[in-house]
Symmetry: C2
Subunit: 358 residues, 2 copies
Amino acid sequence: MPFAVPGASPMIKKFSNNPILRPEEVIPSRPDFEVLAVFNPGATIHAGDVLLLARVAERPLPKPGHVATAFLNLESGKIEPLYVPLDDPDLEMNDPRVFRYQERDYLTSISHFRVARSTEGRKFEIAEGPSYLPATAYEAFGVEDPRITQLGDWYYLTYSAVSPMGVLTALARTRDFLNFERMGNIFAPDNKDVAIFPEKIADRYYAFHRPSLKHLGQPSMWLASSRDLLDWGRHEFLIGPRPGKWDSQRVGCGAAPIRTQAGWLQLYHAADENIRYCTGAILLDLESPSQVLARSEEPFLVPDQNYECVGFMPNVVFHSGLTVNGSDELALYYGAADDKICGATVSISKVLASLREQ
Amino acid sequence: MPFAVPGASPMIKKFSNNPILRPEEVIPSRPDFEVLAVFNPGATIHAGDVLLLARVAERPLPKPGHVATAFLNLESGKIEPLYVPLDDPDLEMNDPRVFRYQERDYLTSISHFRVARSTEGRKFEIAEGPSYLPATAYEAFGVEDPRITQLGDWYYLTYSAVSPMGVLTALARTRDFLNFERMGNIFAPDNKDVAIFPEKIADRYYAFHRPSLKHLGQPSMWLASSRDLLDWGRHEFLIGPRPGKWDSQRVGCGAAPIRTQAGWLQLYHAADENIRYCTGAILLDLESPSQVLARSEEPFLVPDQNYECVGFMPNVVFHSGLTVNGSDELALYYGAADDKICGATVSISKVLASLREQ
């Protein structure tokens, strides 16, 4: 039975069994690796189960006096460990997620996707091995943060493909979550946080995307559309950060939007000056989804539990998957502190009522 | 008569009448503005003339003790000057091209495009007024660096649309260079240096693009393709900077590629650690343009003349337009020091012979 969490918005009910997946429950993909994090899952209903496609971040087992990482070696076609002595003069470390060695950048972990299933959406069993491993030059540093959209019989994954060439968004599809078909790069780097709408509008597919900008501009949500899911255009700015608010620094979409009578309800994550990540929502016109009808003044999913405030990146809730239960409930699946997966339910009507008209 | 410039590569012949366009020859778009620069032109043959579509950068006339800029006010629909006192505590200036005021970024100039014509390609007459002015929210800070590709009766322009939302690439077309049809945003920010191939390959249009990356990766040339010029996909990495060489920091395409028997010849600009911009070339497979067959070890167009070494951005040659003269000569049109336009001729066969197989 979920219960209202003290201090949190009353419209959200976090699962009593949070975190529902922790790194220590996940078997590494190979014996010489360790799992650092399981987080930021896509979610859908598949074969009667609630299915999560979790991001699993790993690194080679630690070796004293070294920083360790792994990457897809394109010549061997294998994921290979790399150990760099901490006193190597060619090593530069300024960020817990990235280091620089011999004038090349590396991530401190490599991520793959793994299926977890549940009959009731609360207690999940995660697969013993990877479901989707990095396999192309664009994925040499890993695959990250999948969103799932079902279109007919197919489940489409949009995810970040990370490599020395940048962070771009790739597309793949599956029917069974065992065999996946790669469909290529759909948004050029730097671009992430892409979710495809669950139906066409006026004969075009729509998707949110989130360019990361080097020069002018801030990390904002954009909308694009496509005839075939492969070629995308008609890029339009949708929403950006708002100074002084909970979403002052960056915004990006969560899971795919939900059709409601009032419009497309789209949850989004945002960070403020303190790199505190929360979740709010926007409401978009059903026929013209670039029209923003309403927006959260305050987030309804905030990091206020120990498991959200302590971890790899403290004070982060990052919603990327959801399922719809009945007529008014959403089950949200989210990364907590960038290393665990948690769940919460929220009332659609309460979220809609909380939005302020734009 | 052109002559070989001492110290430059012998295969390039800079025009003896360089610079062929200077800011002082350009009439401002309005009496309260001044022209800072005329540079980075697209080029084509139109109605028997060599036509340049030049970028003209302007700012409001200087006022002592102030920094001046102008931007498209979306409410009035007009380009409006903005003067900020240099001692205003809300002003931050660190770059000659950008300043920050009241927590917003501004450029120090606003650019439009202007047609210049020549019967013989050396002596140009520039229009008395703008040909293409910023007109959309995505162009609020200006339009920049057009490339022109002729496809049938239409001349397509790809250009940078600059606004507080970022730097993206927009598409427009014209038949007469008097009336232009805007076709929307084709590459999301940050993306610039886009040129469309002059013919389809296997029923798809191709274009180079150049994402500017915030996190991993360096400014590199990518290839994308499209069925209709509006929706683009199949993004592929093409070439990146090479450490220790003339193109060590950034690369981006010049004008649209030229079909040769050996392959697509594509000129590109690049900068090194000293922000010295030069031009070299790559050769791409005719059927599979993502295959790089050969590349310049050394640039053939380098800033070595006074008009290229002194100006708004010293030591910059930025090629963005060309015409083909006869069977073996290219006339290159380029920005010099980011404030004038120059020209040079080069032999196609000599460029091809200079490339090193990859």
